[in-house]
C-alpha cells in the first residue's frame, strides 16, 4: 500500500472518529462572485476527480473497488454537467498534457500540489484544526496556476476529492456485536470529500468545502448527484 493511500485512509479514519463529536464547520470563501472569462462565460476548469470507493470488511481493512470507483467518477462528472447543478457555470474538462509537452512537469506538479494542499486543509482546518490556522485561510498553489489558465482559458479550476466506503455484512455484524458487548460501536462505512476552487490568476484557494458523513452512496447516479450538490453548496457563482 502506498504511503499516500494509507495517509488518506487514516484521514478518512480520523474523520469518521471525530464526525460524531465536532460540529460541522462552515465552508470557506474569500470571493462573492466569479470573474467571467473574456467570452463573458463563467468558466471553471474541471480537474481529474480524485475518487476511490472501497468495501469496509469485518475487521476494518478496506478493500478497493474498481467497478464502483469507475461508476462514481462517471456519475460525479455527469452531475456537474447537469444544468440544475452547474447552474450557469460552464465546466470544461481539463485534458492532461502529453509527455514531451513543455508544461508536462509543471502541470503534473500542480495537480499533485493541489492534492497535498487539499488534504492539508481538510485535516488541519477542519478535522484536526491547527491553532496556527484558526483565524486564517491562506493556502495557495502559487503562480504556476497561470499555466493552467493559459491552457484552459478558464479563470478558475475546481478540484474534487472523495473517499467512500461501505460496510460489508461482516462489518455490520461486528458493529452490532461490539456495541452490545462493550457499548462502543466501531466505525462503519463513511463518505469523506472536499471541493476546492482555485483562482488561476494567482493560485489562491478562494473557496473550499468539505463533506464528512456516514451516509451517501456514490455507486448510484442520484445519491452521487446529491453528494456533488452537497460539495458545491455555497460555491460562488
Amino acid at each position: 500500500m502506498s504511503g499516500k493511500l494509507s495517509r488518506l485512509l487514516s484521514i478518512g479514519f480520523i474523520g469518521v472518529v471525530l464526525a460524531g463529536c465536532a460540529a460541522q464547520p462552515t465552508n470557506f470563501s474569500s470571493i462573492k462572485t466569479l470573474t467571467p472569462s473574456v467570452d463573458k462565460e463563467k468558466t471553471i476548469a474541471l480537474m481529474p476527480i480524485d475518487v476511490q470507493l472501497s468495501l469496509l470488511t469485518a475487521s476494518g481493512v478496506e478493500e478497493p473497488k474498481a467497478e464502483w470507483t469507475k461508476s462514481a467518477e462517471q456519475y460525479m462528472r455527469s452531475a456537474l454537467k447537469d444544468p440544475t447543478v452547474a447552474n450557469g457555470i460552464n465546466f470544461v474538462d481539463y485534458v492532461q498534457p502529453e509527455k514531451g509537452d513543455a508544461d508536462f512537469d509543471a502541470l503534473n506538479d500542480l495537480e499533485k500540489l493541489h492534492g497535498a494542499v487539499g488534504e492539508a486543509i481538510l485535516l488541519h482546518k477542519y478535522i484536526v484544526p491547527l491553532q496556527s490556522k484558526k483565524d486564517k485561510f491562506d493556502w495557495s498553489l502559487g503562480t504556476t496556476a497561470q499555466k493552467l489558465k493559459a491552457r484552459t482559458d478558464a479563470n478558475y479550476a475546481l478540484f474534487l476529492y472523495a473517499r467512500d466506503s461501505y460496510s460489508s455484512a461482516g462489518r455490520v455484524a461486528v458493529q452490532v456485536i461490539a456495541a452490545a458487548l462493550t457499548g462502543y460501536m466501531p466505525a462503519g462505512g463513511s463518505q469523506v470529500g472536499f471541493a476546492s476552487l482555485v483562482d488561476l490568476t494567482n493560485g489562491d484557494i478562494v473557496w473550499f468545502n468539505h463533506l464528512n458523513r456516514a451516509g451517501g452512496d456514490l455507486r448510484t447516479a442520484e445519491p452521487a448527484k446529491k453528494s456533488v450538490e452537497m460539495l458545491l453548496t455555497g460555491m460562488p457563482r
Partner: protein, 394 residues
C-alpha cells in the same frame, strides 16, 4: 528453441534431483475484472504507476529500459507485454513488484550486481512474485488475520463486559495477540520471498543464464554488510519481511547445484551489463557517495573495479571517497586515484578538476591551472566554469 531445450532439461532435473518446478498462476495477457478484489488492487496500483511515471526519481533512459525489458522477455517471453520495468533513483539495494506487473528497480541495485545474470536473478525473483500472485495472497491473508484479530478482541471485550477479566489484562492479551499476528503476517511474506527465489532461479536456468550467480548476489550483500560503516540494526531482523541473506544464499546455491548437473549455457553477460549501466554510472555513484557510508561505498567501488564498467568513473569516485574522508594520507590516496582516472582513453573530466583542486591545496598554482584548463576543454559547458575561470586568473 533454446528455451524449449532448457525446459526439457528441467523436466529431467525434476526426475533426477527433485527440483520441482513451480507453475505460473497467471495467464499471459491477464487483466482482472473490475468487479473482483484483484481488479481493485490493480486500480490502486495503476494510480501509483501513473504517479511513478511522473516522478522526478524515475530514470527515463530508453536505452536502459530496452535493455531491462530484453532481460524480462528473455526470462518470460510470453509475459513480456504484461510487465513494465521502472528504474528509480534511490541509492540502496532493492527491487519491487506490484500486483499489476509494475516492477521497480532501484539504482543502488544496479551498482551492486556484477553482471547480467545477477541482475536477471533479481528480475526473475520479482517476476516470481507476479506470476505466483503473491500480492493478492498477502492481501487476503492480511484480511483474514485482521478478521481473526477482531474476533479475538470482541471475545475479550465480551469477557470484560461480563466482569470476568480486568480491562488491563484484556488489553495486554489483545496486544500480545496482535504481536503474534504481525509476526505471522511477516513470516507468510518470508515464505513468498523464498518461493520467488526459487521461481527466479528456474527462470534463470530456462533462459540459459549462469544459475550460480543467484546465490553470489547474497554473498556480496553479506560482505557489504560486514564492511558497512553504519550497520543495519540486527534487531530489526525479527520483523524483517525477507529471509536472512545467508539463508537465501544457502538455498539458492543448493538449487543451482541441482540445476547445473546438466550441460547448460553458462552466460553471465558482464560486458552487455556494464555497457548498459555506464551511461548512468556517474550519477548513481555520486548518490552512493552522498549516503555518507564510507565502508559501503568503498566496498561497492572496489567490487566495480573488477567489472567491465567505465574504470575512469570508478577511479574518480574512489578518489572522491578518500578526498571527502580527509584523514591522514587521504589527499595523496585521492590524487593517485584521480591520476588513474585521467590515464584512461576517455577520462572523466571531473577528475582533472579534482586534481587541480588538490594541486591548489598543495600550493602548486601552475600545475593547478594546467589541470583546470584541461577540465574546461573537456567540459566547456561546466556549471562551475565561472569559478574555475576565477582560479585561472588568480
Amino acid at each position: 528453441m533454446r528455451v524449449l531445450v532448457s525446459a526439457l532439461l528441467i523436466t529431467c532435473a525434476i526426475q533426477a534431483h527433485g527440483f520441482e518446478q513451480l507453475p505460473s498462476l497467471v495467464k499471459p495477457g491477464f487483466a482482472p475484472s473490475t468487479h473482483e478484489l484483484e481488479g481493485g488492487l490493480w486500480m490502486v496500483m495503476a494510480n501509483a504507476e501513473e504517479d511513478l511515471q511522473r516522478s522526478p526519481l524515475l530514470i527515463d533512459r530508453p536505452d536502459l529500459n530496452r535493455y531491462l525489458m530484453d532481460i524480462v522477455c528473455r526470462l518470460v517471453e510470453s509475459y513480456c507485454g504484461d510487465i513494465r520495468v521502472y528504474v528509480i533513483r534511490t541509492p540502496h539495494f532493492n527491487a519491487t513488484m506490484a500486483p499489476n506487473g509494475m516492477m521497480q528497480i532501484w539504482t543502488g541495485l544496479l551498482i551492486r550486481v556484477r553482471n547480467e545474470a545477477q541482475l536477471a536473478a533479481i528480475i526473475g525473483h520479482e517476476i516470481g512474485h507476479y506470476l505466483r500472485r503473491h500480492s493478492l495472497q498477502r492481501y487476503e491473508d492480511l484480511k483474514m488475520k485482521a478478521t481473526f484479530s477482531t474476533v479475538i478482541a470482541l471475545g475479550l471485550g465480551g469477557a470484560v463486559a461480563a466482569g470476568g477479566v480486568s480491562p488491563d489484562i484484556a488489553n495486554l492479551a489483545s496486544s500480545v495477540g496482535n504481536f503474534a499476528l504481525l509476526a505471522s503476517i511477516f513470516s507468510y511474506s518470508r515464505s513468498h520471498e523464498s518461493e520467488a527465489d526459487k521461481f527466479g532461479i528456474q527462470l534463470l536456468d530456462t533462459a540459459g543464464y549462469d544459475v550460480d550467480q543467484a546465490s553470489l548476489v547474497w554473498g556480496q550483500i553479506l560482505k557489504e554488510e560486514d564492511s558497512a560503516t553504519q550497520k543495519k540494526s540486527s534487531g530489526s531482523l525479527f520483523f524483517s519481511s525477507h529471509p536472512s541473506p545467508s539463508k537465501r544464499l544457502e538455498t539458492l546455491a543448493s538449487y543451482a547445484n541441482d540445476l547445473t548437473e546438466h550441460e547448460q549455457l553458462h552466460e553471465q553477460g558482464a560486458t552487455d551489463f556494464a555497457q548498459a549501466i555506464n551511461p548512468l554510472l556517474f550519477t548513481v555513484l555520486e548518490d552512493q557517495l552522498n549516503t555518507g557510508d564510507f565502508g559501503r561505498s568503498r566496498f561497492v567501488l572496489e567490487q566495480l573495479q573488477s567489472g567491465e564498467h567505465d574504470q575512469s568513473i570508478v577511479s574518480f569516485f574512489l578518489g572522491e571517497l578518500y578526498r571527502s574522508r580527509n584523514e591522514e594520507g587521504d589527499r595523496d590516496r585521492a590524487a593517485a586515484y584521480f591520476r588513474q582516472a585521467i590515464s584512461s582513453d576517455s577520462p572523466t573530466p571531473q577528475a582533472y578538476r579534482a586534481l587541480g583542486m588538490i594541486e591548489l591545496k598543495n600550493k602548486n598554482l601552475d600545475a593547478a591551472k594546467a589541470r583546470f584548463r584541461e577540465y574546461l576543454s573537456l567540459q566547456p559547458e561546466a556549471k562551475d566554469r565561472k569559478m574555475i575561470e576565477f582560479y585561472l586568473e588568480y
